[in-house]
């Protein structure tokens, strides 16, 4: 059943522009990305929007709908209040390129700085390892991440306080957690987490967990355990004492 609605979409370049209203006929089952495509095809051929899979698997179409960070492809229009205009705008934590497209390159630069996976010597002669399912479930949860960067967008440390240079954000804390909790990994990233990556900035408001389209329990399962490890490593007096007598893990 078609229904008339107004979509108020941010149009502009490099943060200069404004909202434009587009009247749209909403069909049953439509998602917000369908609305954007319909507007592109019928009203504004140059409306910029990044997307790929349209199935919630690639994390390209991140934006803010009525002020909430969401994937355009996983937001059913029927679930929105259509009695007033629906706003769609780009993520606010990153520079705007054009219309709904943000410059997310900062995220790619952050990732490169994190020490890569370094496995222990293989368990078996054929170069393979043995891991039990129970031991891999936690890192597997983190590896569900589709890198939509909505958690980065919602995080007040980045969004409001602009600590891009001092804090890697929830996405890369999850990434680091996946590496640190990988049963085969031997690298040590705790000093980086404390000093360079700014894990102390996170004051566990859990906004990132709320917006994660993959339902990763970012704060409880990734960030808090990492904070605990950092505390154990750098602030625990007994560990400190032991370290004097015992060499650091190789």
């Amino acid at each position: 059943m078609a229904q008339k609605a107004t979509f108020r979409i941010w149009r502009g370049q490099a943060n200069e522009g404004g909202f434009v209203d587009y009247p749209v006929n909403v069909e049953d089952g439509m998602v917000a990305l369908d609305v954007v495509h319909q507007i592109q095809a019928e009203q504004a051929g140059d409306l910029a929007c990044r997307w790929n899979c349209k199935a919630g698997k690639c994390g390209s179409c991140s934006a803010e709908i009525n002020g909430k960070p969401r994937l355009l492809c996983m937001t059913r229009v029927g679930d929105l209040d259509l009695s007033k205009p629906v706003t769609i705008e780009p993520m606010q934590a990153f520079p705007n390129i054009k219309d709904l497209v943000s410059d997310v390159s900062w995220n790619y630069r952050m990732k490169e700085k994190i020490k890569p996976f370094k496995p222990r010597t293989p368990d078996n002669e054929d170069g393979t390892w043995n891991m039990s399912q129970a031991d891999v479930e936690r890192p597997q949860e983190f590896r569900k991440c589709i890198e939509c960067f909505l958690c980065q967008d919602v995080c007040h440390v980045i969004r409001d306080h602009h600590k891009h240079d001092e804090f890697i954000g929830p996405r890369f804390l999850v990434y680091t957690a996946a590496l640190e909790m990988h049963p085969l990994d031997t690298e040590d990233r705790l000093a980086d987490l404390r000093h360079r990556d700014g894990i102390g900035y996170c004051n566990i408001t859990k906004c990132c967990t709320k917006v994660c389209p993959e339902h990763i329990t970012i704060t409880d399962n990734a960030i808090i355990p990492l904070k605990e490890r950092v505390v154990d490593e750098f602030y625990d007096p007994i560990t400190k004492l032991l370290r004097i007598f015992r060499p650091k893990k190789s």
Partner: protein, 602 residues
């Protein structure tokens, strides 16, 4: 505007599984490598692959080995595969899985702590290494996270306009970036095409906007041959409702975990019609089918796990006979396993988490309680750039291809799970061969006049003040391909399609795009059109030339197989007058030794 220029030994076009694996290998061989990626890194179509990666590691059933995998691949491809490629693939896939683990991938585990393998259509034994139903994401993220530390030069959101040649050899490309619309001239000694498929030529597809046949078309225009283009895989299970999600993939893993197909009368129709090639391997009863999916080594697989071409046709048949679901599909039921399992809901959510969310969020269906509605969706093109099995080089010196845009491995129909393994097996070979080619061959020069002509053609849609909308032409082409070159084909319709495509090509040359060069989707659509049209013509002409039904190519007017055509592949090539020539050439790599393996495996 001046071009941004860069130089490299090996240029990789595409950053999905194949492109990333090629880049990593070329870089490991000492070549300087640039990767051009149409999207952001890590967003390529590989993330959509759900079910798994086929490799005969034998972790779940130790009767499996590369010879069985080789034989299954040929049977699925109706023996039109490049036999040598099928052999290399079966032999090397297991090493590539282990390599991903060494780079950080975390596959699901067996009780013994090894990599778990699951059942899939057309594979005799449980063979697919997997991570729930998001195996493709695991692969691309692993390759990406490894690749970014190898000194590779990545250019994201950059699309190639045309290949530039120096004599017979490729010498570079002209490309544009989406963000600013700047042009980039990349000078390279060797080029690896890894651009994926052509699904956007069809209306109902599981493929994203990127899949416009760029690599196929660029290589074709540069003189390469395209092989097997009539074979387009229609995946039997795409979502059919609501309309906006039509075509989105429902993994074969649902059937691998015990999902069954039913019609509106509640009948499990797949038992009705088993193809002769598979009678001996298929279960006789529902009870035997269930035993198979739960790991009974004595049981044979249920008919839902027959090859994709067959299952897709069966669903269409039920719908045409008036026994379809309310929105024109069939019912795919996984909830029924509660008859056998006490914690069926937990099991389904654990094994098929993204399917659970996809249906819950997009269709309001709880798959642990209700059946899904599914129907065929354009999924994959078996056809691609014709390459040499050992090196992955096309007939154009210095031009390599791997992954979906390469042709040969899958023949008339691809088995599920053989794509992810294809990406890394042949990505690696293409990367190594391209690095070797670059080191053994001297510099080329790049023809700047050619680049200027490419630039002028690319900017033309922006400069025309009036002209047709590129979107309108794309939609019309999708209708033509869906209606006339779809799952059931006839000679008159295919010939009509060729004429319609020619007409659309003329119109595509006069499109107009509003706006400027910066992140302008209308302009980008205009630039994709020549590629979509070229691959569409290749599919239609190749399909018209194969007057038989085989694998994914189904002809209503020629429903049987033709023995003669069972020994040849279709190739198309571009002639000097810009017309497309179609020919049949003998199947490659058939030796007595390989035939003996096929015979032995039955």
């Amino acid at each position: 505007m001046p071009w941004q220029t860069r130089e490299c030994d090996v240029l990789v076009i595409g950053a999905g599984g194949a492109g990333l694996r090629a880049a990593i290998e070329a870089s490991a061989e000492g070549a300087s490598v640039t990767v051009l990626s149409k999207s952001l890194l890590g967003k390529a179509h590989t993330v959509m692959a759900e079910g798994g990666m086929a490799a005969s590691m034998g972790n779940v059933d130790d009767r499996d080995n590369w010879r069985v995998h080789f034989s299954d691949t040929l049977r699925g491809g109706q023996y039109l595969n490049n036999w040598r490629m099928a052999e290399i693939h079966a032999q090397q896939a297991a090493d590539r899985v282990r390599e991903l683990e060494a780079w950080g991938a975390i596959f699901d585990r067996t009780k013994e702590g090894r990599i778990l393998q699951r059942n899939f259509g057309g594979h005799k034994y449980p063979r697919l290494a997997h991570v729930g139903d998001r195996t493709g994401l695991e692969m691309i993220r692993t390759l990406q996270d490894h690749g970014i530390h190898q000194g590779i030069d990545f250019l994201m959101e950059t699309t190639v306009l045309e290949i530039i040649k120096d004599g017979d050899r490729v010498s570079g490309v002209l490309a544009y970036d989406r963000e600013r619309g700047r042009l980039h001239l990349v000078h390279a000694k060797a080029i690896v095409m890894a651009t994926g498929g052509i699904g956007r030529a069809f209306k109902v597809t599981s493929n994203s906007w990127e899949y416009t046949g760029d690599g196929h078309a660029l290589a074709y225009r540069a003189g390469a041959e395209l092989v097997d283009m009539e074979f387009v895989q229609f995946h039997p299970t795409g979502m059919v409702w609501p309309p906006s999600v039509r075509g989105i993939l429902v993994t074969e893993g649902v059937r691998g975990e015990g999902g069954i197909l039913k019609n509106s009368e509640g009948k499990r129709f797949m038992f009705d019609d088993i193809p002769p090639l598979y009678t001996d391997q298929t279960a006789d009863s529902e009870e035997e089918g269930w035993r198979y999916v739960t790991g009974d080594k004595e049981a044979r697989r249920p008919p839902e796990l027959l090859t994709r071409d067959h299952v897709a046709r069966k669903i269409v048949k039920e719908v045409k006979a008036g026994r379809g679901s309310p929105h024109g599909g069939a019912f795919l039921d996984i909830a029924w396993i509660k008859e056998h399992l006490s914690d069926a809901e937990g099991h389904i959510r654990k094994k098929l988490p993204s399917m659970y969310h996809q249906f819950k969020e997009l269709a309001g269906v709880d798959i642990t309680k209700e059946a899904m509605e599914v129907g065929p969706t354009t999924h994959y093109v078996m056809g691609g750039i014709k390459v040499d099995a050992e090196t992955q080089m096309s007939c154009v010196p210095g031009l390599f291809a791997c992954g979906e845009c390469g042709g040969g491995l899958h023949g008339a129909n691809r088995l599920g799970g053989n794509s992810l393994s294809d990406l890394v097996v042949f990505g690696r070979i293409a990367g190594a061969s391209a690095a070797k080619f670059a080191s053994e061959h001297g510099d080329t020069s790049i023809n700047e006049d050619a680049a200027s002509d490419i630039e002028a053609a690319a900017l033309a849609p922006l400069e025309r003040s009036s002209g047709e909308s590129p979107y309108a032409i794309q939609y019309e082409l999708q209708d033509v391909m869906q209606d006339l070159v779809g799952i059931a084909r006839t000679q008159p319709e295919l010939e009509q399609a060729v004429e319609r495509i020619a007409d659309l090509s003329r119109r595509a040359a006069t499109t107009s795009a509003v706006g400027n060069r910066e992140y302008n989707p209308g302009w980008h659509t205009a630039l994709d059109l020549p590629n979509l049209l070229a691959v569409s013509e290749a599919v239609a002409r190749s399909a018209a030339g194969r007057r038989e039904s085989r694998g994914a190519h189904s002809r209503v007017d020629h429903p049987e197989k033709d023995e003669q055509l069972g020994t040849v592949n279709t190739v198309v090539r571009r002639l000097d007058d810009d017309s497309m020539e179609m020919a049949h050439v003998p199947v490659v790599g058939v030796t007595e030794e390989r035939q003996a393996i096929v015979k032995e495996m039955g």
